[in-house]
């Protein structure tokens, strides 16, 4: 449900604000799609549909051939899923794999992102996310 909400939010937000936010939205969509495949050992229909929706939105926004990502990425992602869950990695490593794969995908989609990636705006966004994460991890439990 949270992922569907974010899909709708990103669908509305894309193209409204700055080019940096557009890049982050695409990055988040790719993240959601990979997470949907890799979140559990068994792949369920709901997760797969969310994967298709998020990849479809990326293809729509970046003018790639439609359903190309679903056809190309499905089997390799299932292979990576099998690899990760057979070795029983820690959640941190699973998240790291999703992050790195999303990063490679977003760099593969557009070569023009290389000069933009050095922008200070991204640094601010990432610092914001990191501090929110650290804050929740350190002080979130105290609330409970």
């Amino acid at each position: 449900m949270i992922r569907l909400f974010f899909l709708l939010l990103f669908f509305i937000l894309y193209g409204v604000q700055s080019i940096f936010l557009n890049d982050l939205i695409l990055f988040s969509l790719v993240n959601i799609s990979f997470f949907s495949i890799l979140r559990q050992k068994n792949l369920y229909l709901s997760d797969y549909l969310i994967f298709i929706c998020s990849i479809f939105l990326v293809e729509i926004f970046t003018n790639l051939p439609l359903f190309l990502g679903v056809v190309i990425l499905s089997l390799p992602m299932l292979g990576i899923n099998r690899l990760i869950y057979n070795f029983n990695f820690n959640n941190f490593y699973k998240s790291f794999v999703i992050f790195i794969m999303s990063l490679l995908t977003i760099f593969g989609i557009d070569k023009n992102i290389y000069p933009r990636a050095l922008s200070f705006d991204y640094f601010i966004f990432f610092m914001l996310f990191i501090f929110v994460f650290l804050g929740l991890q350190l002080y979130g439990k105290k609330q409970n």
Partner: protein
């Protein structure tokens, strides 16, 4: 690994959808345009709220400044009205003369005001989506202009949306006229267009820096760019100062 037959079934459906859209790319374009049309509909209430809230805070913060600006504009407006009435008086003579010689009134170009609803930043592709389509009389090949500067041409249309390839796109090509000679130019995905050849002539083109390339239509001459040189090769520099909030689709009928 896959414990659900439905997943495999969905994959098969996606595979066949992909092959169908790859074989018939026109359907893919239509689907993409319709998705952006749905996006524009969903965005409307949020845009309305955003503009209302933004206007509310703007009026609170800058009311005094606006009063001062309005006073200045009012005095300037009075002056411009006087100039305008004088110019109308002068041009009315020419309009009358034109009417005598051509036995008709001055033809006005038919155009439709449009706004961009998709890929405004031209990030991944040098094309964008506009909010009007065949229902508004827009056809494939129509020119999208800002004042008289060509921004691009309509590539495909649906009932309510259209896709426009900009002059910067590598897919853009057109016939232009420079110093009364016709040339074929093509986009390069950069800030300039390259010359492919001179139309129906074997003469060596003789360009000068700053020559204006125009596209001649029935009622109006549209400007595409100015001649510049990169490594002694002539190119056509497009106008970077384009207002994407002031676009019109020019139909040459």
């Amino acid at each position: 690994m896959i414990n659900n037959k439905k997943v495999f079934l969905v994959f098969i459906i996606c595979f066949f959808s992909f092959t169908t859209l790859a074989l018939f790319p026109n359907y893919g374009d239509k689907l993409r345009l319709n998705v952006f049309f749905i996006k524009s509909i969903i965005e409307k209430p949020f845009e309305y709220l955003y503009s209302k809230i933004g206007n509310y805070f703007d009026t609170i913060n800058t009311n005094k400044d606006y009063i001062q600006i309005i006073n200045n504009l009012e005095s300037e407006n009075i002056y411009l009205k006087e100039v305008n009435s004088y110019l109308r008086l002068i041009t009315s003579k020419y309009a009358e003369q034109y009417k005598i010689f051509h036995e008709s009134t001055i033809p006005l170009p038919q155009s439709v005001g449009v706004s961009i609803i998709g890929n405004r930043n031209l990030t991944y592709d040098k094309s964008f989506i506009i909010n009007k389509g065949s229902n508004s009389g827009i056809k494939v090949g129509d020119y999208v202009i800002d004042v008289l500067n060509v921004v691009g041409r309509v590539k495909s249309t649906t009932a309510n949306t259209s896709e426009v390839i900009t002059v910067k796109s590598i897919n853009y090509g057109d016939e232009v006229e420079i110093n009364s000679r016709s040339y074929i130019v093509s986009g390069t995905n950069n800030e300039y267009l390259s010359f492919l050849r001179q139309k129906e002539s074997m003469d060596i083109p003789n360009f000068r820096f700053g020559d204006i390339a125009i596209i001649k239509k029935n009622h109006v001459n549209l400007m595409l760019g100015r001649v510049d040189f990169i490594d002694d090769q002539p190119v056509l520099l497009t106008n970077d100062d384009i207002n994407l909030n002031n676009l019109r689709v020019y139909s040459d009928d």
